[in-house]
């Protein structure tokens, strides 16, 4: 397994950990004490806005730790530049994740057109974002494994 493949796996694990821990934090801190808050637009707005910097910082920290450990163990650096193959794989994975997220977005809007409560829309949006990230990293890993 080369460094790029390992890096994708680390990104995948970091994504799962970040989103699971963040969801647990949100649930324990806010939803468990006040279940009615799940229909508050302000609550969901804050939850989404705070998630963005948290996810970015978590990824940066995990990638730095991985780069240090990888350097110590294998004595090789992770390639920092992207070539044509990396860009093609990136395009393919972005296309997959976009389709998944668009499907989730459509379902979320559909829930509102059917008169469901607002929390259904936000949970669907959050879930589709989470699933699209996971599938994106898994497909990236598979593309690197098979060459393209």
């Amino acid at each position: 397994m080369d460094a790029k493949e390992k890096q994708v796996l680390v990104t995948l694990l970091a994504t799962i950990l970040t989103l699971v821990l963040y969801s647990m934090y949100i649930y324990n801190m806010y939803i468990s004490s006040d279940p009615a808050i799940i229909n508050s637009f302000r609550f969901w707005g804050n939850a989404f806005i705070i998630l963005i910097p948290v996810a970015i910082v978590a990824q940066i920290i995990v990638q730095i730790i991985f780069a240090i450990i990888n350097r110590i163990v294998t004595n090789e650096d992770i390639p920092t530049k992207d070539d044509e193959r990396d860009r093609l794989i990136e395009l393919k994975t972005i296309r997959i994740s976009h389709w998944i997220f668009i499907t989730g977005f459509t379902l979320a809007m559909g829930s509102q057109s059917m008169g469901m409560q607002p929390w259904v829309m936000f949970v669907t949006l959050f879930s589709s974002g989470f699933i699209s990230s996971i599938v994106s990293e898994i497909s990236r890993f598979l593309y690197y494994r098979r060459g393209f």
């Binding site: 080369d2 460094a3 790029k4 390639p79 070539d83 044509e84 193959r85 060459g147």
Partner: protein, 75 residues
């Protein structure tokens, strides 16, 4: 539609060029070593530009590095 393959002689050419390493070839052509590995193993077909850069790195015509092999009759 027939199945198509692009074969290459990169491994042989590296040997004939003083056992050039994959990393050296990657540096000369401006890609990562992993991409050279994927091309050499036939897992990835390079762009025309990269194919020319690889041929130039070996100072060889493109046709001696890459060959097109068609398994069936194309329509």
């Amino acid at each position: 539609m027939s199945k198509c393959h692009i074969n290459n002689t990169i491994r042989v050419l590296r040997f004939h060029n003083g056992e050039m390493t994959q990393q050296e070839l990657a540096d000369r052509t401006g890609v990562t070593r992993q991409t050279i590995v994927a091309i050499e193993q036939g897992k990835y077909s390079p762009s025309l530009e990269l194919a020319f850069r690889i041929a130039r790195a070996f100072n060889t015509p493109l046709g001696e590095v890459f060959t097109y092999k068609d398994d069936g009759k194309s329509q």
